[in-house]
């Protein structure tokens, strides 16, 4: 993440985002987030509000959304806290985009388990479509980032695209997903392995086999 940086604040940027304000729908969510904390602790809602702001920016720009400085200033004023504290939070968490991104933010996991299971091929597939790490494609469709483990190692390799994970990938399977997305469809999220639901062992259970037919657990539902 060493190449993360804040989009420079130019007059144009101020012009475009200076009057940012939550739409009623997001405002309602923001209020609810603030209400979760005791009076005077409204600052605690900063992470939620940054997320909402990023999503609203996404809606307005038809991208995944990002956080221009004027928007961070808006959030700071909204929560009555110093802007620098908001910027600290936004720069700390990589889920907040500090520069504009494309319609789809493709985050390829390159950590060891995914790598062993073929993340190189996944990466190649992305690159073949003109994606470049840390860049957005000309058509504004794709932004590519390489990330560390997303906690889906049991169905490695995986990518995260906006709010969904696509797992058990191969080059072709990813191509199908990306094509669908580009066509405006919503491909099935999660594992792409036929016959697999989530991260259960491929080819049937290898442990707790007795549980396949009958429930021996103390809980009613297992």
């Amino acid at each position: 993440m060493a190449d993360r940086y804040i989009e420079p604040v130019t007059a144009d940027l101020r012009e475009r985002w200076g009057s940012f304000a939550f739409t009623p729908a997001w405002e309602e969510k923001a209020k609810a987030a603030i209400a979760r904390y005791p009076d005077g602790r409204q600052k605690s809602a900063v992470m939620a509000l940054l997320d909402y702001a990023q999503r609203q920016v996404g809606e307005e720009t038809n991208t995944q959304g990002w956080l221009p400085i004027p928007v961070m200033e808006y959030v700071a004023a909204y929560l009555d806290m110093p802007v620098i504290r908001v910027v600290e939070v936004a720069t700390f968490y990589t889920m907040y985009n500090l520069v504009p991104v494309g319609r789809f933010h493709v985050q390829v996991c390159g950590t060891t388990p995914c790598w062993l299971r073929g993340s190189d091929e996944v990466m190649e597939t992305c690159k073949k479509r003109g994606m470049k790490k840390g860049h957005t494609t000309e058509d504004g469709l794709w932004t590519l980032t390489e990330v560390e483990c997303m906690g889906n190692c049991a169905s490695a390799p995986m990518v995260q695209i906006n709010d969904d994970n696509y797992e058990d990938l191969t080059g072709e399977r990813l191509d199908v997903v990306l094509d669908a997305l580009a066509a405006g469809k919503s491909p099935k999220a999660g594992t792409q392995e036929p016959g697999r639901h989530t991260v259960e062992p491929v080819g049937g259970p290898t442990t707790l086999t007795a549980m396949v037919d009958a429930n021996h657990d103390y809980r009613g539902e297992w």
Partner: protein
């Protein structure tokens, strides 16, 4: 009071102490970077690791661990030694080998601690991290690659200064310290982060590459840029003062110093008066100044035959000795016409307790309700503002009468009209009714408008003087004020009395703020160190010494008598002020009763015994009753430009630059380095 064992030595530590503090009490040195007595605990550098039993079998950060009963702490075990070596090695992984070109060299915590606790060689041969430069304003020079992420600077600006502008962006190895959008740090205490930074990431910009610390002569001084009497260390080389640093004094400045006190010193070598000058007569308008000798100047003064028609006005930066010498000279001539409130302000000075900061600076932190009348505290006494912020953090309510300014704590402004004091709203009276330690602070803007009487009446009404607490305070801005008042150097009618007396000779002792056109017929003799407003109006200029060039006694706003030592010699023909006045006495044929500095001091102590002992002077007396109604509008505070309040600041390029950039928003012309 838990009892702990440090390296086998049993000691009792105060409740709430940390293991680090316990070790210090036991006389053990614990290396540290992020921990600082006056800041909150961060616990992020890990340099303070020690072995503690009971506890997990690993070294623990002593700064963040509370000392508890029966703990066994070891600071000298093999584990601790290895832990320190390890942390040191990690810190140095990304720290550049900059020492030869780094200004912190010789006074760098990292350098010292790596000598004392490091392993001596590195095993790291990967690339080091590099961080882009950050701009932090005209005073702070940054080299962020050297930063070790201790966050002291962040905590200082958030907690002490109360201006959230420095932050730590990004995370882990990529963490970067910066000001918001790299704006200049804009508050009066910004440069303190330079002292706090344990490495050379934040260094002094004006002092960059000037000297190494071991080349400097260190002199203990008292600051005169405001009336706080901050304790400073004057670092000089040869005849030049290179920098002023704060000394620790918990009663006065803790360990902070305002930017002005720190950086005005480069004004000490500029626009100096180093020769005697006499103005040649001219038919209409001002004649030209011509260099002359002391003899000629004295002869000229004598020729006027002032007799008792001599008056003196003293400036803001003067020491008590100079003022006393002037008093003695005038006394010998038969005059008592001395005044220091140069702009014509008047208020009753008959009872010193009424014009003193009685609560004391250390105690004001404990106030629980504060009424500030006519003071822009941040500009008039930045260090007092730090104390008020602490009080507010402890729950104090602050109300301010006067034009609004940007406070660093929540405060309620009651408007510009002093008349509000006559009928205060319920929330103010409620707060003061309930307060256990109420305080009133009357600033210059109110003193000058006759609000002292009303403030005293309020003090009586609210009972601000009670068992163990005196909450009545006047706040002055001039370093010379309290000393002058203790020496009895004030006229009932202020400057107007001097004007009315039409003196033949007017001695202006470093007085630059006087309207000299009020004295068209007087021979104006300026005795001072800078060619500023006073010198421009003068007929005769006698060059004198600045505060770093003479030993002197100063009394701060709370009546604390402090002595300053002489760091360097005054330039050229300039002399210490008292010797000039002594020589003038000879020229005028009168006796002042002292021939040496020691005799002068002895005479001064005999005259005003309170000045003889360092520390808080007993100003005696109950507060006067006061009374009357306050009226008048405060349009503006006396300090128009924080960075340019006296002749030394005005001569200082650094202060000029601060004023231009920080107050007037001019972009910084980056100097070629």
């Amino acid at each position: 009071m838990p009892t702990v064992k440090v390296d086998g030595q049993e000691i009792e530590v105060p409740a709430g102490a940390t293991v680090l503090q316990a070790c210090e009490l036991a006389g053990k040195e614990i290396p540290r970077f992020c921990y600082h007595e006056r800041l909150s605990i961060a616990g992020n550098c890990r340099m303070c690791l020690v072995e503690v039993k009971p506890g997990p079998p690993k070294p623990q950060a002593s700064c963040a661990l509370p000392a508890t009963e029966g703990q066994e702490i070891r600071t000298d075990s093999e584990m601790v030694k290895k832990a320190r070596e390890g942390v040191m090695e990690f810190l140095l992984i990304n720290h550049p080998l900059d020492c030869p070109i780094c200004d912190q060299g010789g006074e760098c915590d990292l350098q010292d601690q790596s000598m004392a606790y490091g392993r001596g060689a590195t095993r790291y041969d990967e690339n080091k991290r590099a961080v882009t430069e950050k701009y932090m304003g005209p005073l702070i020079k940054t080299t962020m690659t050297r930063c070790i992420h201790c966050t002291r600077c962040v905590r200082f600006s958030e907690e002490i200064a109360g201006v959230d502008e420095i932050g730590a962006l990004y995370r882990g190895e990529n963490m970067q310290i910066t000001t918001y959008l790299e704006h200049a740090a804009k508050h009066e205490l910004s440069a303190n982060v330079i002292d706090l930074c344990p490495v050379g990431a934040l260094t002094s910009r004006p002092y960059a590459f000037e000297a190494r610390p071991w080349e400097l002569k260190k002199t203990l001084g008292i600051d005169v840029m405001d009336a706080m009497g901050a304790n400073i260390r004057i670092d000089s080389r040869g005849r030049e003062v290179l920098r002023a640093l704060p000394r620790v004094n918990d009663d006065v400045n803790e360990e902070w110093l305002s930017d002005k006190s720190r950086y005005a010193v480069d004004g000490l070598t500029r626009r100096r008066l180093d020769k005697v000058w006499i103005r040649k007569p001219k038919k209409n308008g001002q004649g030209k100044l011509e260099a002359a000798t002391w003899d000629e100047a004295f002869k000229k003064i004598k020729a006027v035959k002032p007799g008792k028609d001599i008056a003196a006005v003293y400036g803001d930066l003067l020491d008590c000795e100079t003022m006393f010498a002037a008093k003695a000279l005038l006394g010998a001539m038969g005059s008592t016409l001395i005044e220091g409130r140069q702009t014509g302000m008047t208020y009753d000075t008959s009872n010193l307790a009424a014009v003193n900061f009685n609560t004391t600076l250390a105690e004001i932190e404990n106030a629980d309700a504060v009424l500030i009348v006519g003071s822009q505290i941040r500009h008039e006494a930045p260090l007092l503002n730090v104390r008020l912020r602490k009080a507010v953090k402890r729950g104090a309510k602050v109300f301010i009468v006067g034009p609004e300014w940007e406070t660093t704590y929540p405060a309620t402004f009651l408007g510009n009209d002093l008349g509000v004091l006559n009928s205060l709203s319920a929330d103010v009276t409620d707060a003061f009714g309930k307060a256990e330690r109420p305080a009133i602070i009357v600033g210059g803007a109110a003193l000058g408008r006759g609000a002292l009487g009303k403030a005293l009446a309020l003090a009586k009404e609210w009972n601000v003087v009670r068992e163990g607490w005196n909450g009545f305070n006047s706040l002055h801005f001039s370093a010379s004020r309290m000393g002058g008042l203790m020496l009895g150097l004030a006229q009932k009618g202020g400057m107007a009395d001097l004007v009315a007396a039409k003196p033949k000779v007017l001695l202006a002792l470093g007085a630059d703020e006087v309207d000299f056109t009020q004295f068209p017929d007087a021979l104006k003799v300026f005795i001072g160190h800078h060619g500023d407003k006073g010198a421009h109006a003068a007929d005769i200029i006698l060059p004198a010494a600045a505060y770093t060039e003479k030993a002197g006694t100063y009394v701060n706003i709370e009546g604390r008598v402090q002595r300053s030592e002489k760091a360097v010699f005054a330039p050229g023909d300039a002399r210490e002020d008292w010797t000039i006045l002594r020589a003038l006495a000879d020229a005028l044929g009168v006796k002042v009763g002292f021939d040496s500095f020691d005799q002068l001091r002895a005479a001064m102590f005999a005259n005003t015994p309170a000045l003889a002992n360092e520390g808080l002077a007993d100003l005696g007396g109950e507060l006067p009753a006061g009374g009357g109604d306050a009226s008048g509008i405060i349009e503006a505070y006396p300090v128009a430009d924080f960075y340019l309040t006296n002749a030394i600041c005005r001569a200082s390029p650094t202060m000029q630059r601060c004023s231009a950039e920080l107050l007037h928003g001019e972009p910084l012309a980056e100097a070629a380095e």
